[in-house]
Symmetry: D2
Subunit: 355 residues, 4 copies
């Protein structure tokens, strides 16, 4: 079989080990792996590259994706879709392995369901919010970068007797913030799933700070909604006179709020794009390798319309639709478990009228 | 309740986060955590230290154990056992949290079963071979150090066109070797659970080497038994004239074997004690924190004779005896899964009479 | 002698090893080292802490400063100055070791010159722009963090076929940008010392991008002045209705400029506070240790009004005034040397009228 | 000009950045860079590979050498030398850039002096013992790996209340041990240049250990000569019955000596080959880039028979013979400077007749 492999969506550590795992197993099973460049866009445009053992052998330690990636969704444009289908046949493909997140796998699911393309998916998201799998690769690497940042910020917070707020990835789900906050020993964690109580947080931080700790660390998901509207939307014109939408920086707003309420000097930091690249952690290397390997096995078994997933210590197949049906959110109980660590003091009752 | 916390056996990354998790939760629940120094030895000798939020707050990023550790087994000596029991009462303990591996938890299980001491266990082993839990903390850190070593050795192996054999921890189980081999992209993995076929390995390495790769990486568990007796046991006298038992270095023997059979220059490396210390990975920080936290909860619930464990994504309680009943070995299927990656070429049939 | 040690200004990796070096040598020479908390502020307020071998032994691997720091300048307030002088005598000090940058050492120089306080300085700045010494500690650590970020951004830039602009520290001098750009293999480096030619940069990036590289990396010092006024100053109101001065983000402006001119998707990243903390690199540990050690030696020799400095491979004493006289800027020749690497293609002549 | 570039001797971090620096500058100057594989052996056998911007652009972050390396010395064999000279002309070379240590540069110096080959050298050694340059690349990376190992060993030494001896590279010079010992906060450092006083060391370690520290770290260069003969040379037969010369393991001998004399449990660790590979530190990336760049410049200026070197903050040219004339040893004064840190207590007088 000629099997196309593509990676879509934002890059993250583990894509290359997954490509490697799928490629090596396909070759071993006698198939011909072919790289499709830049996600679904590459199939629309017919961009391919051969994949061999030599090409993939050492990429297990490399971040990013050797196949390139894009956010192209061929279902947004009838013509793109037709070209994709034409190319699929013209290039002689017998199956596809799509490695990506909700969008990429969603396209795969529709191609399988609506156009009978034999697709197998491999789930990927740094946010860990894809359903159907215990963990996605990229997540452990993202949390590791965040915790390393927290370790560094702790030194500065202590030296300057400050509170520092770190904003991390997580638009819809707070997995990265939660794990980074536990692993980095934060004093408070804000995630999108749990209603924000800024006053309780400020009260707690004050108590901890003045109780002898003299610094504090807060982790906040980028997707947290603050319980008040930003009083004014900044209008920024760039150097060309264009109006620029100021990107949401919830961490910065939280930091200013803490400083205002507590009177303690507070700064914020954002990791941003630095979090995406870099060599995958070992957890992600092993997970991605196993998921890629399993995807190739599913191709060999012609078990299409499925996706590889981690259940406990096993890698299994689940329907491709599971990944895209529901976001996997942080359950309330897990947040409460974490709270027993980060909010390690029982709050003293607040004096009335004051925070 | 006055709750003693101790760490026993070899040190490993995650002990401090586990101490921290248990301590913070105990304080939160209104208990008094007390550190017992140097494992069971500290209870035999009555060595304790107070544990407070301040003392444990920042140790989440520290390797080793702030409580010290030892391999003392009080059941080996009637007098020690009696002193331990006397001290337990004299120091006013109401419960114990024992963090350790097979030996430490085995003592805990007997103290609970035979002497009715209220013990809760937290499992720890870098080798990941304890039963009753999916993973133990220390393992991810150990594998990470091993994979970093493999990444480095790959550079040297390529530059010098050599095969390099890395010997890693794992006396009875090959978990570290298996995960390090997958995550580091090794060309062959030898573990104690699977009968060693050195000739198949040499044949494969030759094929890969001369097929264009021009180097090779092999990972071997320290506990692998080679299929032939060492022809002569070295007798080494040290600088004081004492006979020294030469430590087993299976990696070195494997390297010499490969060189002899394949004619390819082969070297070996051992990580040794460097693998034990160092800051825990995030995976281990979070796992250890959760296991410590849960242990404190079990104390509060007076669920003694139990041990905290990871099942899938949940931290649960299992009987303390489960940890010590059976070694958790690498299952055959998992090794075969790994083989599809490391032995990525299908072996060509050997010419008769030759390797 | 009773010798006060203090750290002032922004925290940076190496402060703790410098404190350690000075402390250990002072004790060895029979003096009594005393920590002054939070820089000059601590002397104004009389905040001290004892320093012993035990306290400092292990801080060689810790970021930040165990003494805390502040930016307090006692010369800004007559009363503060008097309290500082009073405390100096009341606390029985015989000498001071001040570890800090231009501001901290400037205070030290004036205390020595105008008030005859026996001060020895140890230079510190992540920006490496202090005169009188080849390198300051903190610099190698800062560059290392920046290069690690560049390594990560490269993965993402390649995967998405983008240009990424990294803004790094350096208000007045471009040392961090220059070294990070060389060490991280950037395609262009912008520093404050060299007039910015954005069009030449854009032209070059286009040529490299379309010549087959398909991505690009640019490093820019935070202190670079762009050759045009920002067309409009954003007015931002925070959640309390306060007007917030939007911090300069030159990297973001450069990224938007590149995208506008070249048509290539361009993103920016900033390291920010994450760059300050964290364990010092070995270069910084050794340098800081040696500088601290030498400072104690200068105290023993009563060679006050001086500062320790690195000249080649030697640590020597220079007048304290040298550190604060002139900023040490990147010389033109060094930038040109770097340009031979980053601008590795000779630019093809531009077509007239176009970039 | 057609310029051959080769790397010889043991691989070390920085070789790739040096190749990159030379290649990019050569191309910029209009020359044609050609890679010679496996050091001088490649010129003997005529093995070459083209070098382009694309090939070298990203290797700045890679350990090892893309050109491969060997220890072949063509002067050991008349025929080899003749083939080398023949190939030099047959392949149309106009100049050579040789990157390597004493042996590789020694060959280059003789080829220049005796056979008028236009050779420029770039010095490389992890041991930092080459004359004519302040530092060689590879050294900072080697020390960084050693210090990371010490940081890890400290955790274990503390947890188990042990002394741990780390053996590091350095056959003739103690630079790696000295810098690692300072940067890692060791309690004693043994280097080849300074006569070993094991009893003073043991006495000091006992004093520190029992004075409250309860652990200890010692760093020893592999090249240290112990002041007594090993009482018996082990004779080891390998699995094939061959006599194997047991490699010197001075760290292990030192550890056993300490344990015997002090009665404190003592272990040893060796880094070995793991120290050679891995990505270069930023210091080494920048140094290697600058040295490679300068070598290309010397070729353009036809300044043959010279070697690039670091003097202070400048990269300069020195005669190629300087590198190979004298080993650069650790000066006595620098060791004494270090001693003021590692031997931070003044030794109490020993009781007569006892250690």
């Amino acid at each position: 079989m000629r099997v196309g492999i593509l990676t879509g969506g934002g890059d993250c550590p583990g894509l290359n080990p997954a490509i490697r795992g799928a490629t090596l197993r396909l070759i071993r099973d006698g198939h011909i792996p072919i790289g499709i460049l830049q996600g679904w866009k590459g199939l629309v445009q017919g961009l391919t590259v051969p994949l061999s053992e030599e090409r993939v052998d050492e990429i297990i330690r490399e971040g990013g994706t050797i196949l390139g990636t894009s956010r192209t969704n061929p279902f947004k444009n009838e013509q793109d879709l037709q070209r994709l289908l034409d190319n699929y046949h013209a290039l002689g493909f017998d199956a596809l392995i799509a490695i990506g997140g909700e969008d990429t796998l969603g396209v795969g699911a529709r191609l399988y369901a609506e156009h009978h393309l034999p697709v197998v998916g491999v789930p990927k998201t740094m946010d860990n919010d894809l359903g159907g799998t215990d963990f996605t690769f990229g997540f452990d690497s993202a949390v590791s970068v965040a915790v390393e940042a927290l370790d560094r910020l702790r030194d500065t917070a202590k030296s300057h007797a400050r509170i520092i707020v770190l904003e991390v990835m997580g638009r819809h789900a707070g997995w990265v913030a939660l794990y980074a906050g536990i692993g980095g020993g934060a004093d408070w964690i804000l995630i999108p799933e749990i209603p924000v109580d800024l006053n309780a947080m400020c009260h707690y931080l004050q108590q901890v700070y003045h109780g002898g700790k003299h610094y504090g660390l807060v982790v906040v998901s980028e997707g947290v909604e603050l319980p008040f509207a930003q009083t004014d939307q900044p209008i920024v014109l760039d150097d060309f006179g264009h109006v620029v939408l100021k990107e949401r920086a919830v961490g910065s707003r939280v930091a200013r709020y803490i400083e205002e309420i507590t009177g303690i000097e507070t700064r914020d930091a954002v990791i941003g794009h630095i979090q995406r690249g870099g060599p995958p952690t070992v957890f992600d290397r092993v997970l991605a390798t196993r998921l890629g390997l399993k995807a190739a096995e599913l191709v060999s078994m012609e078990q299409f319309g499925s996706m590889t997933a981690l259940h406990g210590v096993e890698v299994v197949a689940v329907p491709l639709t599971e990944a895209v049906r529901n976001l996997k959110l942080v359950p309330y109980d897990l947040y409460e478990e974490a709270r027993q660590i980060f909010q390690r003091l029982v709050l003293q009752p607040q004096r009335s009228g004051a925070v």
